[in-house]
């Protein structure tokens, strides 16, 4: 299957994208596919474009022709783009004319339109399948490229153009990221309309845009959903589908969405850029049914070993692009890094196994915060951990032992809070500090780090 063929099945007059005062019809998306595109057969192109409809028309032209294309967020710096370009051995960059690559070495030729790009290539072999390369969030070090295909990305996409025609998705994600691409593909392949507000608009403005365009389907992270339910006009959206993903989902936000949108089906999707969509849950309870371990609903195997969640998706490459390092074990299992707990008939998420704290979608390494705090003259020992929070899921908290036990505790807490805010990014700063007289040490003399 290639994207162009999927779109050709839709009615001629389908409107696919609603952006600010603009309707983009299917034919405008498919028109970029011309004869000269075949010159790009077998090419490797890096795409970094801010306009969703332009990007969609280019992806539609390239899918099934080029060997691989990478989708890079328009918010990415030129320096990082050039690193991706070099590590992935890309032959050309297609980007907005606002991006400049002066002073950067080894950058492949940069183009601002598809025709000029195609004209500069000599065709090679058309691949069996075009690889779609998606960036990871960069949880561990620099972001990496993960290899997908239209098949692996749209495996869970429901294709029903009759029902799809009445659906209007609201876009709240960056379309180049895994979750955003899921929304984009689900919407266009089913012939639904995708409402794309300017990315930099405030949430209130985006919600207004969704109300004006009769949005029926929305997908967002739990942190963003908590913000959505706090906006004042959101109840004017006649929502039929609410999708959550990317962070731990709790009962409170599920109930809040259910109360606000009584007609909506609420779906929690468990997915990662590496493993693709693992499974989804729509029974309005946190966690997922224990029965999924025996009967995985979407054909992606799931197992729990020593309180850790593993998934096995046979349709996804298990190596980062341009690297020989596999992120799957021999049996094909990918360690999700999620700590889980089995409680009766339910598997519940408890946080990250490596202790990484997810503060409203931003990752925090406890060690980084600990190292900064240990440099403060008041601090003898410190243990940083995740403190549950109803708005951002978690915040950063610390137990601290002071060098001088006579120090005023209240004053010390204040000093350390201010210090952490000055020394660290806002989301890494300490939201809560408990002064403790001593720490329990393990046999190797390290502070015992409890998994949540």
């Amino acid at each position: 299957m290639i994207l162009r063929d999927s779109l050709k099945k839709l009615p001629n007059n389908s409107i696919l994208i609603l952006s600010t005062n603009k309707k983009i019809y299917r034919d405008e998306i498919t028109t970029h596919y011309k004869k000269n595109i075949n010159r790009l057969a077998g090419a490797r192109v890096l795409i970094c474009l801010s306009d969703v409809s332009v990007a969609l028309s280019i992806i539609t032209a390239l899918d099934g022709i080029v060997e691989a294309f990478a989708l890079i967020s328009p918010a990415t710096s030129s320096k990082l783009i050039s690193l991706f370009a070099v590590s992935g051995n890309f032959e050309a960059i297609l980007c907005n004319d606002t991006k400049t690559f002066n002073d950067l070495k080894n950058v492949p030729p940069v183009f601002h339109d598809l025709d000029t790009l195609a004209a500069s290539f000599t065709p090679r072999k058309i691949p069996k399948e075009t690889r779609w390369l998606i960036t990871t969030s960069g949880t561990t070090g620099e972001p990496k490229l993960v290899s997908h295909t239209l098949m692996s990305l749209s495996r869970t996409t429901k294709v029903d153009p009759v029902r799809g025609a009445n659906v209007r998705w609201g876009m709240l994600y960056d379309y180049t990221r895994f979750a955003g691409l899921q929304v984009l593909l689900q919407s266009v392949i089913s012939g639904s309309k995708l409402i794309v507000p300017p990315f930099k608009d405030s949430l209130d403005k985006k919600i207004k845009n969704f109300i004006d365009h009769d949005c029926t389907h929305l997908s967002a992270t739990p942190t963003l959903w908590r913000k959505i339910v706090m906006t004042t006009k959101v109840n004017q959206i006649n929502l039929l589908q609410a999708t959550l993903g990317g962070e731990i989902v709790d009962d409170r936000i599920l109930s809040a969405i259910a109360k606000l949108f009584p007609k909506a089906r609420i779906t929690h999707i468990f997915a990662s850029t590496e493993a693709g969509v693992g499974f989804s849950v729509s029974d309005n309870r946190e966690g997922f049914p224990l029965s999924y371990l025996k009967k995985p609903p979407l054909g992606v195997d799931i197992k729990v070993t020593n309180g850790k969640l593993y998934v096995r998706n046979k349709r996804v490459y298990s190596k980062y692009f341009g690297s020989d390092i596999s992120f799957a074990s021999k049996g094909g299992w990918v360690d999700t890094g999620d700590s889980v707990e089995i409680k009766k008939d339910r598997v519940l998420f408890r946080g990250r196994e490596d202790g990484v704290i997810n503060v409203g979608g931003d990752k925090v390494y406890p060690e980084e915060v600990e190292n900064v705090l240990l440099k403060h003259p008041l601090v003898a020992a410190v243990r940083v951990y995740a403190k549950p929070n109803p708005i951002t899921g978690f915040l950063v908290a610390a137990d601290v032992t002071l060098i001088d036990s006579n120090t005023d505790e209240k004053e010390a807490r204040k000093v350390l809070q201010t210090y952490s805010l000055e020394a660290l990014d806002r989301h890494k700063a300490l939201a809560s500090i408990t002064i403790v007289p001593r720490f329990d040490l393990n046999s190797s003399g390290k502070i015992v780090r409890e998994v949540l």
């Binding site: 809040a256 809070q417 939201a431």
Partner: protein
């Protein structure tokens, strides 16, 4: 209504309003490089009050330290206050017995 004879509930609400406002101002200032907070009324929409999600998350943690309870973990109702007044009322309605 006679201003000098507020009901207990109104008194509690007023006291809580001032307590929450004090903490709000501290958090605002710490999250906005020392700037002072804008004027806050009961009808101020929380998302327009100058604190983002992270700011609100910190506000709730600080309030837990100051007031000794977190209504979000006490209340079984799936409720997210939208205005400052609703936030105060939420704290008032969930004072631990």
């Amino acid at each position: 209504m006679n201003k000098t004879r507020l009901s207990n509930d109104q008194n509690n609400n007023l006291r809580l309003f001032n307590q929450i406002l004090t903490v709000y101002k501290e958090v605002y200032s710490s999250q906005n490089k020392g700037k002072s907070a804008p004027e806050i009324k009961n009808e101020t929409v929380l998302l327009d009050s100058g604190l983002d999600s992270l700011g609100h998350a910190i506000l709730i943690t600080r309030l837990e330290e100051k007031l000794g309870y977190d209504p979000f973990s006490i209340s079984t109702e799936a409720y997210y206050p939208r205005t400052f007044g609703e936030l105060v009322e939420f704290y008032n309605a969930n004072v631990p017995a």
